[in-house]
């Protein structure tokens, strides 16, 4: 298996007034080439620190990692030569125009002078900013600056793109355009790493995700596998809607094997069971004279996944006890 990113025991400790803080705590990570990887977690979880280390902008205090086969400590410049990075909290030079800013970035990337204009024009087109290329950045909205940030990451036609909070400050239209861009990049065979705390935005785009909290991965793996795992752990949720005596139907449901919980909510009966019992539910509905209009298996969302593991992590370490072992919930 070829990996775009491989990290083993990657650690970053900061010294603070209260002692040492582990911003990133012995992380193991693999991201397959050509995949879209989502790094999810609340603010301050360690996402940005991890990205800073992977791009050679911050030195690890422990462990090792390779990005596109380059060592993050010894070959960081080679990494940044081949990786398009959108850092969190970046800024452009406000006194320069969009085009001038990108020309400077192109020069820093050693793109030959004769190719710069075309290169800049292409990436401006990719993010829809051609019409404002001659405007100074001082007059740009936050969303426009964010799009320009994405443009600069695309500049060197990189094999791997790392976006840290890419949709921060971007309007819904811009967010949708960004998602389309990620899909396009994925189709082109690029590896994309998205870091965000907004799960609903990147969830559907990702092949694999890792949820990070307090510097550690609380769960990591393929999105479908993780959802299946959560369903097995939390129970299958079935939503039944229809016309008839739903009260009698609900009482009958309690006698079905594997049913754990029944709730009536907004004209629907919500059933939680330890297996997929939709066939049995359908049969019971006919028996009770209920005309079924909806019989859905409700899959847990990435957000459910996040909330579950975030809660577990929070409960396991109520006093921020970094030494506690969390292997029981870490996958991979």
């Amino acid at each position: 298996m070829e990996y775009a990113i491989e990290a083993k025991g990657l650690t970053k400790a900061y010294k603070s007034e209260g002692g040492t803080v582990l911003a990133v705590d012995h992380l193991n990570l693999t991201v397959e080439r050509g995949s879209v990887f989502g790094l999810l977690g609340p603010n301050g979880a360690g996402k940005t620190t991890l990205i800073m280390m992977l791009t050679g902008l911050s030195l690890p205090t422990g462990g090792s990692a390779k990005v596109l086969g380059y060592d993050i400590v010894k070959e960081s410049v080679k990494i940044r030569k081949n990786v398009g990075i959108l850092p969190e909290g970046f800024g452009f030079y406000d006194h320069l125009t969009a085009e001038q800013n990108l020309h400077y970035i192109a020069a820093l990337n050693d793109i030959p002078k004769e190719e710069r204009s075309k290169c800049v024009g292409d990436v401006l087109a990719a993010v829809g900013l051609q019409e404002v290329k001659d405007r100074k950045l001082g007059g740009f909205s936050r969303g426009m600056k964010q799009r320009l940030g994405i443009a600069q990451a695309l500049m060197k036609n990189p094999e791997l793109l790392i976006f840290d909070e890419p949709t921060a400050g971007v309007d819904p239209e811009g967010a949708r355009a960004f998602k389309d861009l990620v899909v396009r990049l994925s189709k082109e065979g690029k590896t994309v790493m998205l870091s965000t705390h907004l799960l609903f935005e990147v969830g559907p785009l990702c092949d694999t995700v890792a949820i990070i909290n307090r510097g550690r991965f609380v769960v990591q793996g393929n999105v479908r596998e993780l959802v299946g795992k959560l369903m097995a752990e939390e129970g299958y949720r079935i939503r039944v809607g229809g016309a008839g005596d739903l009260g009698a139907f609900a009482n009958g449901l309690m006698d079905l094997k594997g049913v754990k919980e029944i709730r009536l909510e907004g004209g629907y009966v919500l059933v939680r069971a330890d297996s997929d019992i939709r066939v049995e539910v359908g049969k019971l509905a006919s028996k009770c004279g209920v005309e079924v209009s909806t019989l859905d298996l409700m899959e847990p969302s990435l957000e459910d996944l996040f909330i579950k593991y975030y809660k577990i992590e929070g409960m396991a370490h109520p006093h921020n006890d970094r030494a506690a072992n969390s292997e029981g919930i870490v996958n991979g």
Binding site: Y14, T48, M52, T55, L57, S58, V77, K78, R80, K81, I85, L86, P87, E88, G89, F90, G91, F92, Y93, D94, H95, Y104, I105, A107, L108, N109, D110, G149, Q152
Partner: protein, 329 residues
């Protein structure tokens, strides 16, 4: 690999187009014009162009040194004070560092750009002063005058770079530009005004000048000898010499002191009214007017040149080491 010239080229363009730089050059240009007017007025007391007892340099040096002793540090501080902290605050440093460059490329590029911008500003300011003085006095400077003025400009640039180094160092260690601005300005005030006052106070408290009752002496009138009891003159000479040594020892912690010394040697003038170094042959209060060659001037000024160079180099190294190891969050 991207060279520091890419960064330097952009930085230099930013500096020379910035309102801050243009305003400083304009203000000091005007101040230089005012200084030229002063030179003109003092010269017209004699016959214009014909009688220059102190020579061209002697006429323009005083105003040039005074102006430059304010201009150079302010220019250095203005350019260095947000060199790193400003980029951190705006987030531009994060974006620049996300590109395939080494950190030292950034700081080297910034130093080179600052050096070029300071050289340009110093050249403009000096040109206004010297050119204006030539026109006002109607005197053509000699080759030696021009050489000495060029050397003076070079050391003015070094002086400005010393302050640029200090300001950049403060900018590197500060989290916010306001912090580095406050500390830099306070440091400039201390170096320019406070230290000399403190030095005088310390010297006068350590070596009080005591006069014998009944003695009638004239002291400290430049160009004249002291008159009075020879023993008393020797005692006072020693006291003044001790005071000067203490004052200079305290003032020598500032780059300003070393710049003034260099300027005095290079331009052959004494900017401080007081006892001439070493007392002179004629005794206390007499100024030395003996002409010295450029090499002799450089020979006398080299310890001060060395100190200014060290301040510049050491602050650059300190900024460099800090910046290349700093966590950018």
């Amino acid at each position: 690999m991207v060279s520091m010239f890419t960064v330097a080229s952009k930085e230099f363009s930013d500096i020379v187009k910035s309102k801050r730089f243009l305003l400083l050059v304009a203000v000091f240009g005007l101040v230089m014009v005012a200084a030229v007017a002063t030179v003109y007025l003092s010269a017209t007391e004699g016959t214009r162009g014909a009688s220059m007892p102190r020579g061209f340099l002697g006429s323009v040096a005083s105003s040039l040194v005074t102006m430059m002793s304010y201009f150079a540090p302010i220019m250095g501080i203005a350019l260095g004070v947000d060199a790193i902290s400003g980029e951190k605050e705006k987030g531009t440093l994060k974006l620049t560092l996300a590109q395939p460059i080494f950190r030292d490329t950034i700081i080297n590029g910034k130093f080179l750009a600052a050096f070029l911008a300071i050289s340009l500003a110093t050249f403009i300011a000096s040109l206004v002063n010297i050119g204006g003085s030539v026109l006002a006095l109607g005197v053509t400077p000699t080759v030696e005058d021009v050489t000495r003025l060029m050397l003076f400009m070079l050391f003015s640039i070094l002086f400005a770079m010393a302050f640029y180094g200090i300001a950049t160092f403060l900018s590197t260690i500060s989290k916010r530009t306001t912090q580095s601005v406050i500390v830099s300005v306070v440091l400039w005030i201390v170096f320019t005004f406070i230290i000399s006052i403190v030095a005088s106070l310390v010297a006068s408290s350590m070596v009080p000048i005591s006069f014998q009752p009944g003695q009638n002496m004239t002291i400290f009138r430049p160009g004249q000898n002291m008159t009075g009891n020879p023993e008393e003159i020797a005692r006072l000479t020693e006291q003044f010499r001790s005071r000067t040594a203490i004052t200079e020892a305290i003032e020598s912690i500032t780059p300003n002191y070393h710049f003034t010394r260099i300027a005095r040697y290079i331009l052959q003038i004494s900017v401080n009214i007081g006892i001439s170094p070493g007392g002179g042959v004629g005794g206390v209060g007499q100024t030395t007017t003996r002409a010295v060659s450029i090499m002799e001037s450089l020979g006398s000024a080299w310890p001060n040149i060395l100190v200014l160079t060290l301040v510049t180099v050491l602050t650059f190294i300190a900024s460099y080491m800090l910046f290349t190891r700093q966590e950018i969050r």
